[in-house]
Symmetry: C2
Subunit: 295 residues, 2 copies
Amino acid sequence: MPDFQAWTTRILKRTEGALEDLLPPASVAPERLHAAMRYAVLGGGKRVRPLLVHAAGEVCGASPDALDAAACAVELIHAYSLVHDDMPCMDDDVLRRGKPTIHIQFDEATALLAGDALQTLAFHSLSRPALLADSAVQAAMIHDLALAAGSRGMAGGQAIDLASVGRQLDRSELEFMHIHKTGALIRCAVMLGARCGAPLDRDEIDRLDRFGKLVGLLFQVVDDILDADGDTATLGKTAGKDAAHDKPTYVSLLGLARSRAYAGELLDEAVGEIAPLPASGRLADLARFVVHRRF
Amino acid sequence: MPDFQAWTTRILKRTEGALEDLLPPASVAPERLHAAMRYAVLGGGKRVRPLLVHAAGEVCGASPDALDAAACAVELIHAYSLVHDDMPCMDDDVLRRGKPTIHIQFDEATALLAGDALQTLAFHSLSRPALLADSAVQAAMIHDLALAAGSRGMAGGQAIDLASVGRQLDRSELEFMHIHKTGALIRCAVMLGARCGAPLDRDEIDRLDRFGKLVGLLFQVVDDILDADGDTATLGKTAGKDAAHDKPTYVSLLGLARSRAYAGELLDEAVGEIAPLPASGRLADLARFVVHRRF
């Protein structure tokens, strides 16, 4: 997929530029906080959520500028969640994207505040004046992001995850956790991109929503496989930490082979959902990329 | 001021009801997170920011429903900042509003996530569909709140505060810190209320903005006086903790008598700013209430 690779490179570059512009310079007071925010966000990460925003934007012919703002918003929510997730009272991890985590590189208080301010910056990005011609759609997008990120979405998923350590979850409980913890924001990335352009009809929106939900699960299954299978150097984070923390994963529940088969099924279903939509090839490529990124 | 007291009681009651409705029930999963969020927000707090939102709304004849959503948004940002501020890596406090702080009553991870989710819920509240007839104004209000809460506002002020522990600040540095840490959100409360009704002209907006800035400072000066002067029982939080943490305050810089005189000057100036505005009596009463609440 040479075209997909060129597209990915282009979107990653513009996302990096948009994040760079949005994050206050480290020379502006409070300097240490701004340095920590930039350290947490720039120069790393797969940027799967921004890629999903832009790919979904192709379906509705969205303006690239609006997509940048939405892409930054979801990526900043994701980045803040990683900063807080790595803190000693949560996962207590020292390595992320091959670099020391924020509370190691800076200090715990700065990590806490940097995470807080990154979340705020996400809403700052999405509430930019004149983002879209229709401000009511913009307000609805902000509402969607808040729902996806909050206690009934991502933050709630982290709480469920915490409560599950050391417990034996069944498959539906594990799925419930992941639908919140990673699924809600990935699904939201697709829906935000899909709202930045010409209005879609109900069936199109439903298909994209189901696609987002499936890709969210797919992403987690693949993550569990990589965590069980990979090593710290390729992952850029501490490998095998789920098992070490006695956390339930798809691999611990289904085994490696059945987890791989499940990933394949989710991929087929996701791609099938969007097949009838115009200009959905990029989304399908992206779903395949999520699966094949490292195995 | 019997009328002011009746008004305050009425606004506090409706704010409590609006917060109650907005916060997910503790019976909804994740239960522990929702219980912590409710514990952090309900049944306590002076609700100065919601009162400011509603008082500013009187100047522009705003709809009470829109004011409730804005009032909840600023109060939730305030509440989240207290939860995180009390954590061991920040102020490490065990008492707030006369009750154990969240990380004591629950645990540190739950405090972290509850604070995170309360911030998200603030933006959820302010992005409610059809909050105002003009969605562009709504988006602008969300943008204002994000600016006031983020690294160039409240979160930035907390970072400056952290960096100042043990250092001797001069008056302008102290003011710079407070303008961010508490001032930005108080000012934002006034401006959010002022945008929920009929559009105001430039001079009116500027007067309200200066009023908000002055009341923000006033609030901090009074807080420093109470911290130095009060006892733990009346404050509902650990008294004298600023001195114990070697934190710079107006009292440590100016002494108690000059701090009181400064509060008086700020009050006169604030009330003078809004005197020409119609229906601004409530805001003036509220500024007086901030000063006289406990001394």
